[in-house]
């Protein structure tokens, strides 16, 4: 909203783009025009075709029909090298870095600063340094190995890479998914700087607040088709956007908390003085049946580690975890699962799913013994139970024999949830349960989590979205640099206070 897109002729025009995957019509005629100096937002539910569209635009896929016009002339953008040459830089949804190369090498991968094939390392380091400074991250050393960085910092490196080229169009596919609010603001600052220089930006996000803040115009996709194009952000109410995306009206809100939950409910999860050397220490946590406890904090504060440690995926260096009053053996996932704990991990794809396996075997993997007699699996029963759950959670598409890979992000998340529903666990640990999940599915997940709690499950939620934590949880813990700095009822605290706590460790008046 900083600059007014002026030029009549769009920088990029895509018309009638069709992309057919065998059996799936991912794009069925999409139009998009982007002007220099604007932030153009792409909206749509999971699986609407947003990523596919930008992959066509950046040359990863070749489209079957339609035209791409660049700067007034029809252009071909495939393979990626061509798009790059035109000045199209892309930050993909899945991180696309090489883990064992250092930061500078990743930034200049493919267009290395070199003379006669030899790397000019000091020049690369210098320029990488400048790029990172410009992005507000002087603390990332260009010599750091990228695999050692947190996902958020890796995102910054991707960003630096995009800026390292002479960019005229920058595409960001859900960049905020791994960033906390502070980081998102930082990102917006950079985007504004770029648009001021006349760079066009295509921005994809499921967080409507972000769209409101940074976007100029919006294109909405539904089922691979454009249902609204060039909508000015300022003139389009949120309800209208949601209706366009989902075809129905959903209230974009958190399900109501049952106020004044009786404290007499049984304590299910009790954590005492839990610590993991070098990461966090002294965590105390009590969760009663039917209660949702939220953990919030900055990226890298150690929230994921707390969940993983109490789940037994990491071996605690101090402290105890008890379920229903019984101690759980340290560092043993098996013991935790048997005691009734379930974890939906942060990285769905690398930690949660067997991508090439069917949906049903992903659902039943934690409860195999229930379907086994003398070790033999009853696959019919497996599928039946998985189908029931798929129906209950509204997992789409419905078939449970498809590989999990083909599902959209929101539906993949539901598959992992179904896994623990099937196991009927007493304690459910959710790490960023709505990351990359669209508005519709997000509301469904909130409702589901709340109904689970109402059925007596103790829930712990980690999220970087403070609003989400405040809205969903009954009680909130704020984590900062590996320590719980605050604990209170969710109703007794507001966003600004949490932000203060997160940043400073105390409430600044």
């Amino acid at each position: 909203m900083t600059s007014t897109p002026g030029t009549a002729q769009p920088l990029l025009q895509m018309t009638g783009i069709v992309k057919q995957f065998p059996g799936v019509l991912a794009l069925g005629g999409v139009d998009l025009d982007v002007r220099a100096g604007e932030v153009h937002c792409l909206l749509g539910q999971n699986g609407a075709g947003k990523s596919t569209l930008i992959k066509v635009l950046s040359g990863v896929y070749e489209h079957d029909e339609g035209t791409v016009t660049w700067d007034g002339a029809e252009a071909s953008v495939s393979p990626p090298a061509k798009a790059i040459d035109l000045g199209i830089a892309t930050i993909y949804q899945e991180l696309d870095l090489v883990p064992h190369l250092d930061v500078a090498e990743n930034i200049f991968l493919g267009h290395e600063l070199s003379r006669g094939g030899f790397m000019q390392r000091s020049r690369a380091h210098r320029e990488a340094r400048e790029l990172l400074d410009r992005l507000g991250h002087p603390e990332i050393a260009p010599t750091r190995i990228v695999g050692d960085l947190s996902p958020a910092k890796q995102q910054i490196v991707s960003m630096a890479r995009a800026l390292s080229r002479d960019t005229r169009l920058l595409i960001l596919d859900e960049p905020s998914a791994v960033l906390d609010q502070e980081e998102v603001q930082n990102l917006f600052r950079v985007i504004r700087g770029l648009t001021a220089e006349g760079v066009a930006v295509v921005y994809i996000s499921h967080r409507l607040e972000e769209i409101r803040e940074i976007g100029d115009r919006i294109t909405v996709l539904k089922d691979g088709r454009t249902v609204g194009t060039g909508l000015a952000v300022a003139d389009t109410p949120t309800a209208e956007l949601i209706r366009l995306m989902t075809g129905r009206s959903i209230e974009y809100a958190f399900p109501p908390r049952v106020e004044a939950r009786p404290d007499r409910a049984d304590v299910v999860l009790e954590v005492r003085d839990l610590g993991l050397a070098g990461v966090f220490s002294g965590v105390d946590l009590t969760v009663r049946a039917g209660e949702i406890v939220g953990l919030t904090g900055l990226v890298g504060a150690g929230r994921s580690e707390i969940l993983e440690t109490l789940y037994g995926a990491r071996r605690a260096s101090t402290g105890t975890v008890s379920i229903d009053g019984r101690r759980v053996r340290r560092g043993s996932i098996g013991a935790a699962v048997r005691a009734g704990v379930g974890l939906c991990p942060e990285e769905r794809k690398s930690q949660g799913l067997l991508l090439d396996e069917s949906v049903y075997s992903n659902v039943t993997i934690a409860s195999l013994l229930r379907f086994a007699r003398f070790g033999f699996l009853d696959r019919g029963e497996e599928k039946r139970r998985a189908e029931e759950l798929a129906k209950r959670l509204d997992i789409r598409p419905a078939g449970v024999t498809r590989p999990a890979r083909n599902l959209s992000g929101g539906n993949q998340q539901k598959v992992v949830l179904a896994r623990w529903l099937l196991r009927e666990c007493r304690v459910l640990l959710l790490d960023e349960p709505t990351r990359g999940v669209d508005v519709g599915a997000r509301t469904e997940i909130y409702t589901l989590v709340r109904s689970l709690a109402d059925a007596g499950v103790a829930v712990v939620v980690v999220s970087s979205e403070i609003e989400e934590v405040l809205g969903l949880a009954d009680r909130v813990l704020v984590v900062r640099e590996g320590e719980v700095v605050h604990e209170s009822a969710a109703a007794a605290i507001d966003e600004a206070t949490v932000l203060d706590l997160v940043m400073e460790g105390k409430v600044v008046q």
Binding site: F21, P22, G23, V24, Y311, A313, I333, G334, A336, V337, L343, P345, S350, Q351, G352, L353, L354, L355, D356, E357, S361, I365, A366, L368, L369, A372, G375, F376, L377, R379, R405, N406, R419
Partner: protein, 341 residues
């Protein structure tokens, strides 16, 4: 991009399959390995044309199967290990060690005192023991499988040589060879054993929790672990399993040659891995089929048989074998959809 195009193809096949019932049929078990079946048939046609009924006779078919049986049994175990994300280079050496250990004077004394079943016990125990060591070092010592089993290769063969003093140990005549080398319904017991191991392997992989876990452990060990599977313990099981398979193969070889020797099973690891990989199992783990492995083993032994029937030199055999292997894989890729049968 390889993966991408494979995925696209796969998806294409899936859609087609839904539309076409014939294809749907084809896509079950054997059909999933259509490319290999076609390759094997083509090879058989070449055999029939070049060697006539010397190739097509049922005796010859049995010869091919008998040749396939030993490596075949090991390959079934190898399929599990590779699907589970590992590799085992020590199978040949374990075969040697088990064959030697089960033919020592001491073991034979034991056999005389009790029953030849003692030999079977010794061979299986030796195999399982070596597998256990491999598994423990890999899972709990975090040493990569390639190195661990390479080390086991050296150690097991060295031990076999020390035990046998590098002599070929000939077993006395007793029920053992009669049983393991006998016939049942006109078919060699060796072939029955191979069939049995393959069938058990198929059921284990496709119908049991163990198989499901193997796929999970190889496909995404971190996800498997977070789903509550004890990945380390399962890894140990896998190596014990292939150790037991090596023990069985050792017994078959002892019966067939009436000897135990530290040179038995030389380079079987390569044969087994080649058969498994040509059978469509991913070397990176997480996906593979028993049927594919069996076809892979048969392709190799049929090729060898045809070359010998035609009195071709070993050199020519090698030269063409290379080309045929690549052709078979290309065929497989064109025709095969993914599967985990």
């Amino acid at each position: 991009m390889t993966q991408d195009s494979a995925r696209v193809e796969r998806a294409a096949l899936e859609t087609e399959r839904e539309a076409n019932p014939a294809l749907a049929l084809l896509s079950t078990s054997v059909g999933r390995n259509a490319g290999l079946v076609v390759a094997l048939l083509l090879i058989c046609v070449v055999g029939a044309v070049s060697a006539g009924d010397r190739f097509t006779s049922s005796d010859n078919a049995l010869t091919i199967l008998r040749l396939a049986a030993g490596v075949g049994v090991v390959s079934i175990g190898m399929t599990f290990v590779i699907i589970g994300g590992g590799i085992d280079l020590s199978v040949g050496a374990i075969v040697a060690l088990a064959s030697v250990w089960s033919t020592t004077v001491a073991t034979q004394q034991m056999v005389e005192d009790t029953h030849w079943i003692a030999m079977v016990g010794v061979a299986l125990l030796v195999g399982a023991g070596c597998g256990l060591v491999n598994g423990l070092v890999i899972a709990y010592g975090n040493v990569v499988a390639f190195i661990t089993t390479l080390a086991m290769l050296a150690s097991a063969r060295g031990l076999a040589e020390i035990i046998s003093d590098k002599k070929t140990q000939i077993i006395p005549r007793h029920g053992f060879a009669e049983f393991f080398n006998g016939d049942l319904l006109g078919v060699s017991v060796q072939i029955w054993l191979f069939a049995l191991v393959a069938a058990v392997g198929w059921i284990l992989l496709n119908r049991t929790t163990f198989g499901r876990r193997t796929v999970a452990v190889g496909g995404n060990p971190e996800a498997a672990r977070l789903a509550g599977i004890n990945v380390k313990r399962h890894t140990v099981y896998l190596y014990v399993l292939i150790g037991v398979c090596s023990g069985i193969a050792a017994l078959m070889l002892v019966a067939r040659t009436t000897t135990g020797s530290s040179t038995h099973g030389t380079l079987w690891e390569l044969d087994a891995i080649a058969a498994v990989v040509i059978g469509g199992t991913l070397l990176t783990g997480g996906r593979g089929t028993i049927v594919g492995t069996v076809l892979g083993v048969l392709i190799f032994s049929t090729l060898t048989n045809i070359f010998i029937l035609n009195n071709r030199s070993f050199s020519e055999q090698s030269l063409f074998k290379g080309a045929i292997i690549v052709a078979a894989v290309l065929l497989q890729q064109r025709l095969a959809s993914r599967s985990n049968t």
